[in-house]
């Protein structure tokens, strides 16, 4: 299942709508890293609201996405992690260190906008 990437002003939004296979995740990673430069986006939001499971591969891939996008000159925010998922992740030691997280899409956008206005 492919994840649609939406360009919204300076930002790129990827909304995951169903459980993804490992191949889908890798595809998402490649697509995001390519598009972020193509659209000259300053921020990327990955929305995982509909995920009720986050395994180690998914969280590692998301972390890699954040790191790669940073190298490409933009910032990533993961939004919409469910409370249960969050606690399960922490218990499994999947802490998404040094990745910015936010409550939902709105918060994520607010965070990125704040960043870019401060930066200018």
């Amino acid at each position: 299942m492919e994840v649609p990437l939406l360009k919204q002003g300076d930002f790129l939004i990827a909304t995951i709508q169903a459980a993804l296979t490992d191949a889908d995740l890798l595809h998402l990673r490649t697509a995001l890293v390519q598009q972020v430069v193509k659209f000259r986006s300053r921020g990327v939001i990955v929305d995982v609201t509909s995920l009720d499971v986050m395994d180690s591969f998914a969280s590692r891939t998301l972390r890699e996405v954040a790191q790669m996008i940073r190298l490409r000159g933009a910032e990533t925010v993961i939004v919409g992690i469910q409370p249960d998922v969050a606690f399960a992740m922490v218990q499994l030691g999947l802490k998404l260190e040094d990745v910015t997280t936010a409550l939902d899409l709105e918060e994520g956008l607010a965070h990125l906008s704040r960043r870019s206005t401060n930066g200018v």
């Binding site: 993961i78 939004v79 992690i81 409370p83 249960d84 969050a86 606690f87 992740m89 922490v90 218990q91 802490k95 998404l96 997280t101 936010a102 409550l103 939902d104 918060e107 994520g108």
Partner: protein, 323 residues
């Protein structure tokens, strides 16, 4: 008590001595006693037989007690208790049992059953075990009666007539006592849980406070985490102040849980500030080797709220009165 009464009604019907209304109108304690004597008198030599029975049980106390304890172990009941404990309890249950048979009053037995339940419930003894051991005692005693009177069937019959109703009532009393005690404990625990439940309070837009007071065990810690993470979502909180001034100490598991809660909150996009760590808890957290860089801690609740306000961009300015 209630089931005992019910049992007596059926018991009554067979002997046809008393009407139900009469039993219901009489005070409870007196009723039990009355009833017992009534049945003892209804077949004249019953009280004599009961005395003989009690004497028999007294004479063979050691042997029957041992036999009972052995049957309990064989049936794998009371596995939570050691052999010596089972024997000690068996002895006192036995003595109370015989006393109840002799006097026909169950108050002492009831009190003992309550006391016993109080001691064994925390050790995980189940209702079926208690019922099981009382029934075993009944069987052991009945068998000894069979052995004693096997040559005289008429007498055996009359002895059993006297023994059985009393034994059944004793079994009922003990079982009901146990269940009532259990229910009382459950009620108490429910109350305790309700009292301990911790509110997640919103003090400003996007700022939550979670004051924790009392002892935290791992179950309560889980409950707290759940409430907090839900609260963050529903209130769209950005900053949470967890105040643990009221927690004297916590073990490594719970401290670890606290740290995990902080991290899970971050995944939801909220910053957690922990305030009021006691020296002991600080020690525990250092001992479990948490990366303190991620823990945002402030000395007291006031400091925590001030920092939270700074993070949210609030500025509290005193109102200057114009002279």
């Amino acid at each position: 008590m209630f089931i005992v009464c019910l049992n007596m009604h059926t018991f009554d019907d067979t002997t046809g001595v008393e009407s139900m209304t009469r039993i219901n109108s009489s005070p409870e304690g007196a009723q039990v006693q009355d009833e017992y004597i009534e049945t003892a008198e209804s077949s004249r030599p019953a009280s004599v037989l009961l005395r003989e029975l009690v004497a028999h049980l007294r004479d063979n106390r050691t042997q029957l007690r041992e036999e009972w304890a052995r049957r309990i172990t064989e049936a794998k009941l009371l596995t939570a208790m050691t052999k010596d404990e089972i024997f000690a309890e068996a002895t006192s249950v036995y003595d109370n049992y015989v006393e109840a048979l002799e006097t026909g009053t169950f108050e002492a037995l009831q009190a003992y059953a309550r006391n016993l339940s109080e001691r064994i419930i925390p050790r995980g003894v189940e209702t079926d075990e208690v019922v099981g051991i009382v029934l075993l005692l009944r069987d052991v005693l009945a068998r000894s009666l069979f052995a004693k009177y096997q040559t005289d069937f008429t007498k055996l019959n009359r002895i059993l007539d006297a023994y059985e109703p009393a034994a059944n009532r004793i079994a009922n009393t003990v079982a009901v006592g146990f269940v009532q005690e259990r229910e009382r404990i459950i009620r108490e625990q429910q109350e305790a849980i309700r009292e301990l439940s911790t509110p997640v309070l919103q003090v400003r837009e996007r700022l939550l406070i979670l004051p924790i007071i009392g002892v935290i065990d791992s179950q309560r810690a889980r409950q707290l985490t759940e409430q907090l993470l839900r609260g963050i979502r529903t209130n769209r909180a950005k900053v949470v102040v967890i105040d643990i001034t009221g927690v004297a100490a916590m073990d490594a598991t719970v401290a670890n849980h606290l740290v995990q809660t902080v991290e899970a909150s971050r995944l939801l996009g909220a910053t957690v500030i922990v305030t009021g760590l006691s020296p002991e808890i600080a020690q525990t957290i250092v001992n479990i080797g948490v990366d303190l860089g991620k823990m945002n801690t402030v000395g007291d609740l006031q400091g925590g709220i001030e920092q939270a306000e700074r993070l949210l961009g609030y500025k509290v300015v005193p109102v200057v009165e114009t002279p």
